[in-house]
Subunit: 531 residues, 2 copies
């Protein structure tokens, strides 16, 4: 038993001895050891994540460059549990000198420092694919890219884990006679290929729903598949925004003061923040008792604290929302109809809202009946499907908090039966619960918006369902009436001596007059079950 | 409605334009924006985390230096939602030149690169406390430390977020006439002080249970509290181990080959890995068809892949387990008795097991009845209480998978009523689900070990409970018998004419003979309900 304890007589270790082990940890080392934080916690999932990181980057680049995306994903089994994964796009390409940094450095990218809706945001994903590949198979990653004008640049590289730097094993530039433009990445990694619910296939299927403007070709070990684009136009490009004062704390404020080119504190407020006009700036500075003309570099720590406090007492305009690019109700309806062929679809896009100063928007869809075999719940964040950690996600918890039975649905937290729910959050900064970006953190306003959206869509479904049910009830009553009508007809015939055919015809006319119309148009006539 | 889409006529952005935004992200910037990953997602929790990071470091340092810990935590309200948090210990102190790095750099520390059980493992915690403080209040953190021999070194510092480096605002060394030894840290941070279930108070209470050799003084806004040590001896110091070959993949193996001072691949295997003897090394290399004398630097990529494959086919000894320092069954029982005064305690310490090549050990305790008012579930990892994310933790899921009703307990997943469960995982590397170290990842072997431990403890409780219940049944039958005995006595009196008192006495003797003994000793006699 380990209850024994050491005695105090042991030599006390000195701070000097202890300090010998102190050293810096590179971010690559950190994620090498903690790769489950990035989602690499099993071999099936690993393949999905590599594909996802590549495809998300391709879609972001195409959207920003205003190119309709054509993306090919190829997965080839090299040997047991070892795969080649190729992702190829027709995007803008990457300039030569950036290639090694983007693929060979963790925390490097263009999206972290900008407040704009995009799929990637951390600068971790694609380089972690390189890291995972070399870790599990020892193999380098191959990248080929061209901007279409110049040559094709080819790199074979790994990551120096201790330095968090690319190690270039091979590098060459080739002629580009056909003016090919795009990027092609080839990983060799450990994995298991499956086609279950949380697979590459499912990721691509759902991505096709949320990105109907993109073409996907998927060459998998079990054959070739194509998801063709449904619309020929790209979504409007979301605009970059400035930080909103409501979300800014003392620390960030101080940093921004040191970096601004504004000459006065008043100018700083109006130029560096979202929707702060001269009047609002004056009001804030008056409350904070600060001279509006003072230089940003001359503000004291006390000044800063006073400004941040004053901000809380002033009513500010909401941040602009053209930084967001929701799918829209029509696109959701179309996407669900195309993929699921349901009997009914309801979709709701809420107005944008704000958490911690960052704009976000929730939209949901409900598809019911038709070819839907079983209940499903699909989550998206900035058009990217979230396939893991459903239980820990704020979007799920919010959906589960809806009283679905009230809307005429069978439910155990989430609705059961032939029903598919989908929810999409878009934001300039989606608050994920971990680097693997699988679940959304529970900010109360996000939970609330999601619930309201689902309630709204559920009301629509409930109208449809009660229409159906009313029609069913009426049809049943008609059937019963008709059955009795035959008896009635016979009785009438005996009583009146009239022709049976004539009597049946008269009864049919009565039935038609009484029940006909309602039975033919079941939808939209029922009473409201919802609140 | 946002269904409108942009046209293809928009100017296609070039790769050059896009590349202008590409840049490196410092780890400090990353966590500044993602501080919820470290658990800083609400103000109440923030205070708890800062205290926890400080105290965990103090305990680690004291344990390693073989000093019985005396730790003082002070929380003082400066203004609404702004607190001064002081953590002071009698540890070994920190050498001067390390102070700024330890507190002013994220990912810096002594524990990441060593395979040994310790509370900290990432090199993130304490510097993130500094980061959170400056972010929310703009204030620097003050550190004073001395090794007892030399002067007291005092620093006031912040973190340069863009560079991930300390910014020293003030630095001085003072005389140390009383030979004070230890470290004192003073943060000023935004927070809310509460004394509910997930608070500083609860953290200290539970830490006192899992670290009975430490003294804690807590000066809170509501008064002074002391948790005195229950044992005067430190636990045995866990030993550092080498990586185990079962957990090593191609990537790490390659890195180790480049860093080794071994002259042959055979020597490399026996010196750099845990429990690989010459015979095993020869067997592995024979299977991999590699000359044992080849230099580590000369091994090819193919060699490496073959070795890693061969390892899977060879039976290796389990890693040593003296790197682990469990609490032990006696200490668990004592701790639960001391804090909860229950009627019954069962504790189980399992033998060590291995996941991904890393040793770990599970131990559990169940306390029942007595002064326990309501059900509680306490989780610990390397002696640190885990207060958040109970639902996402493998330890919880495992406990919930036990069929508690089988052991005579009322339960809805976890047992209900006057019962407290505790579980402790200790490991050289606890696999947490996020940097905030609040929940353990679901490795199947960890889930299995936890379940077995709880089942074992539940069996013990069930024996106790069935003893109690048997005693209760017997007491009830005795009561009934006695009640009837009075009637019987009267009847007998009438029949025999004997004195009522005498008859009653005779009946009492019968009762005593039949039921007396069992009623007096209720425990340990019941049948087994468990499996």
């Amino acid at each position: 038993m380990p209850d024994e304890v050491a005695t105090q007589e042991e030599k006390i270790k000195s701070a000097e001895e202890l300090s010998q082990h102190q050293k810096a940890i590179s971010i690559s080392e950190f994620f090498e050891k903690n790769r489950h934080l990035l989602g690499y916690d099993n071999k099936t999932k690993a393949l999905m994540i590599i594909v996802k990181e590549g495809v998300d980057n391709s879609l972001d680049a195409c959207e920003e460059a205003r190119i309709l995306p054509d993306i090919t994903v190829k997965i080839e089994e090299l040997e047991k549990e070892k795969y080649k994964i190729i992702i190829k796009d027709n995007g803008p390409g990457i300039v030569k000198k950036q290639i090694p940094k983007i693929f060979g450095t963790l925390l490097y990218g263009s999206k972290f420092h900008r407040l704009r809706q995009s799929r990637g945001q951390q600068g971790l994903g694609i380089s972690c694919g390189v890291l995972y590949s070399q870790l599990t198979t020892g193999e380098a990653t191959e990248i080929a890219s061209s901007t279409g004008k110049e040559e094709i640049h080819k790199y074979t590289l790994k990551i120096d884990v201790k330095k968090n730097e690319p190690v270039i094993l091979n590098e060459k530039s080739e002629a580009n006679p056909h003016k090919w433009r795009g990027t092609r990445i080839s990983f060799v990694a450990e994995g298991i290929y499956r086609e279950h619910k949380q697979s590459v296939l499912e990721y691509l299927k759902e991505t096709a729903i949320s990105n109907p403007f993109a073409n996907f070709i998927f060459e998998s070990p079990s054959g070739k598949l194509e998801f063709r684009r449904g619309v020929e136009k790209l979504p409007i490009i979301p605009k970059e925004i400035k930080p909103h004062l409501y979300g800014v704390e003392v620390g960030l404020f101080t940093r921004m003061l040191n970096e601004t080119s504004a000459r006065s504190i008043s100018g700083f407020l109006t130029t560096e923040f979202s929707r702060i006009g001269a009047t609002t700036a004056t009001e804030i500075l008056k409350k904070a008792q600060i001279d509006p003309k003072i230089s940003p570099r001359r503000t004291t720590d006390e000044n800063i604290v006073n400004i941040v406090k004053a901000v809380k007492e002033v009513k500010l305009s909401k941040p602009p929302t053209d930084c967001l690019s929701p799918l829209g109700e029509k696109a959701i309806t179309k996407g669900l109809q195309k993929e699921l062929s349901p009997d009914f679809v309801a979709s709701v896009t809420r107005s944008p809202a704000v958490y911690r100063g960052w704009p976000f928007q929730i939209e949901v869809g409900i598809a019911f009946g038709g070819t839907i075999a079983e209940a499903n719940f699909m989550r998206f964040a900035n058009r990217v499907p979230l396939l893991y950690q459903q239980g820990s996600c704020a979007l799920t918890r919010s959906a589960a908090s809806v009283d679905w039975k009230r809307y005429g649905l069978d439910a155990d937290k989430l609705p059961k039966g032939p029903i598919v729910l989908m929810v999409h959050i878009c934001s300039v900064w989606v608050p994920f619960t971990s680097e693997s970006k699988e679940a959304v953190a529970s900010y109360p306003i996000i939970v609330k918006e999601t619930k309201l959206a689902f309630q709204d869509a559920a009301r629509k479904l409930s109208l449809y369902l009660s229409g159906i049910r009313r029609a069913e009830r009426i049809a049943e009553r008609k059937r019963i009436f008709e059955r009795y009508a035959i008896e009635t007809a016979r009785a009438l015939q005996e009583l009146t001596g009239e022709d049976e055919k004539k009597i049946k015809g008269m009864i049919a006319t009565v039935v038609e007059k009484r029940w006909g119309e309602v039975v033919d148009s079941p939808s939209g006539n029922g009473p409201t079950d919802g609140d």
